[in-house]
Amino acid sequence: MWLVSVFWVHHKKRAYGETMSSKATSLGKESEISQFQNLVSIFWPSFLVASLSTILFFAFFDPTELASISGYPEVSRLAGYTIGFFLFWFISAVSSGLTYYFRQPCHKPVSESE
């Protein structure tokens, strides 16, 4: 999760320069999509999908059994659910993040951001 955030902020800085907040606001007006909405569009759908995946996956597979056949017998069920949930969230956040990234236009006029 943290990795995705770092990637996102880094990308923002690169694309719009260090005066991120002011630029982003004006960009927000152009596209009528706020920063908040951009963040939400990455982390919220992935959260929903991760919740669903966690329910579906662990309805069929017992985390303690998965842990013991993988050689981690000390992992408890609650720990297994938690790790599973965040793994699903991370993976789907990466997917949402890439979708967000590829939706950007390829070339930005340099003069605008410098």
Binding site: Q35, L48, T82
Partner: protein, 470 residues
């Protein structure tokens, strides 16, 4: 129409939240009284009551409703469900989805206005906020003012109360998924697992953030239902609307003046409908997707209409058809189809739970050989039976077979014992004289009967293979 949004005017200087948000104008919903406010409060008390109180009730020696994730079983009063019962959860989700479709088509955003956890928790957070920071006007003044001792005390107190309430909410939330009694005593003894603490804090943070800080932004930006609910609307769907023909042209007027003579509509432009709105919209601008259908504007406008001696209902629950002077049709194809589907799935779910046997029997044939002819000239088939005990206690079962004449059964032990929630694998060898086999494949019935619980039995059929009949 000049923009006369008193909420924004008052709040522009109030506070702007951090950069992550859209430059958001903080909304200070004004307190409202009336029939719909009462209904909303009743719904809030009922729903929060269920959430906070129900986990403490016991039934038959266990927590009445417990989705016991660490033990992988769900208790709902007398029933116990196992991961094998996943189909019921699917049915339940289908019912929830169709119920949402049905009620949305019929009555618009009832869910949003009265039952959504986001709405319900936001309301209780606003209630706490009012206890500390006072009415809307006082809150606005407080936010504009300096950080003096009063503001620190009031705002700090509010956040402290929110955090305590959120932590309690997180604790209760986890209490739906692990036994709340032992969770409580673990916390008191300082002996709670790290994962338990983690989920309590996670849910507490979500509650604090969603209901305390983000509020209407969750509905506007984050809620998928808010985005797609409009496709379920038709011209006969109940919605909250301002009667433009009656209200316009709006404007302030002196007491005792006949508005018609002054060329005015019924709307006195007091702006209260905007002040009470939890999402900060002006209902007079028409149907907006930000409207969560809470009906606060109806209550407050009715109050005003009463004061100025005009009939109530300038803002009211209505339909597009009714608004245009037509008739509202309640029974329409969509409604009928949704209702029918809802009844069919609900009926099927109730029927299958009522007739559910807490016992499962899987018959797996030996894959290596079709059949064996043994020393005595009998035809033998080998099976592995999987017996799953889905009751709350350990069970002992007895197996019997039927379907073929002269069937002999060889089994390790006459009695099969399976612990609660457990699975037993039982190898079984069946043999019969080839004379009894009329076809290459015959049906045999395995019946498993509980010796522990009277009347608990299950019959499943399997195949018995032999040589091609002579």
């Amino acid at each position: 129409m000049a923009n006369d949004n008193p909420n924004s005017k008052a709040a522009t200087k109030g506070s702007e939240n951090s950069d992550l948000y859209k430059k958001r104008e903080k909304i200070y919903p004004r307190e409202v009284h009336g029939i719909f406010a009462t209904m909303r409060n009743l719904a809030m008390v009922a729903l929060l009551g269920i959430f906070y109180v129900l986990p403490w009730f016991d039934y038959d020696g266990h927590q009445a409703i417990l989705f016991d994730l660490p033990a992988r079983k769900f208790y709902i009063f007398g029933w116990t469900f196992w991961p094998q019962d996943f189909i019921y959860l699917t049915a339940l989700l289908l019912i929830a989805a169709y119920a949402l479709f049905f009620f949305t088509t019929l009555a618009g955003r009832l869910w949003c206005g009265y039952a959504c956890p986001q709405t319900v928790w936001t309301e209780i957070f606003i209630w706490i906020e009012r206890k500390f920071e006072g009415s809307r006007q006082k809150q606005i003044k407080l936010d504009k003012g300096p950080w003096n001792s009063e503001r620190i005390l009031r705002t700090g107190g509010k956040h402290a109360a929110w955090i305590i309430f959120s932590l309690f909410t997180g604790f209760t939330f986890v209490g739906w998924f692990t036994p709340i009694d032992s969770l409580y005593s673990d916390i008191m003894a300082g002996d709670i697992s790290a994962w338990g603490i983690f989920w309590i804090l996670f849910y507490a943070l979500a509650t604090y953030g969603f209901a305390g800080l983000m509020r209407e932004q969750v509905c506007i930006y984050m809620c998928p239902y808010a985005r797609f609910q409009s496709v379920m609307f038709d011209k006969d769907t109940l919605l909250i609307a301002y009667d433009e023909d009656r209200g316009e042209p709006r404007g302030a007027r002196k007491k005792g003046i006949d508005p018609k003579e002054a060329g005015l509509g019924d709307c006195v432009n007091c702006g209260l409908c905007v002040q009470v709105c939890p999402t900060g919209i002006d209902i007079r601008n028409g149907l907006q997707y930000q409207c969560i259908g809470c009906a606060a504007c109806i209550d407050v406008c009715d109050e005003v209409m009463e004061k100025v001696n005009q009939p109530k209902g300038l803002v009211k629950y209505t339909t597009e058809h009714a608004l245009k002077g037509g008739k509202t049709h309640i029974l329409r194809p969509r409604i009928v189809v949704y209702a029918a589907l809802l009844m069919i799935i609900t009926g099927a779910l109730i029927f299958s739970i009522a007739t559910r046997t807490p016992l499962e029997l899987d018959i797996i044939r030996d894959r290596n050989v079709l059949y064996i002819e043994n020393d005595e000239g009998l035809i033998e088939n080998v099976y592995t039976l999987k017996v799953i005990n889905m009751t709350n206690n350990d069970q002992t079962y007895r197996l019997s077979v039927s379907g073929l004449q002269g069937l002999e059964m060889e089994i390790r032990s006459d009695e099969i014992t399976v612990e609660t929630g457990g699975v037993a694998e039982v190898p079984v060898r069946l043999a019969t004289d080839p004379e009894n086999l009329k076809t290459a494949s015959s049906v045999v019935n395995f019946t498993i009967e509980s010796l522990t619980t009277e009347g608990l039995s299950l019959t499943e059929s399997g195949r018995f293979l032999g040589p091609i009949s002579r």
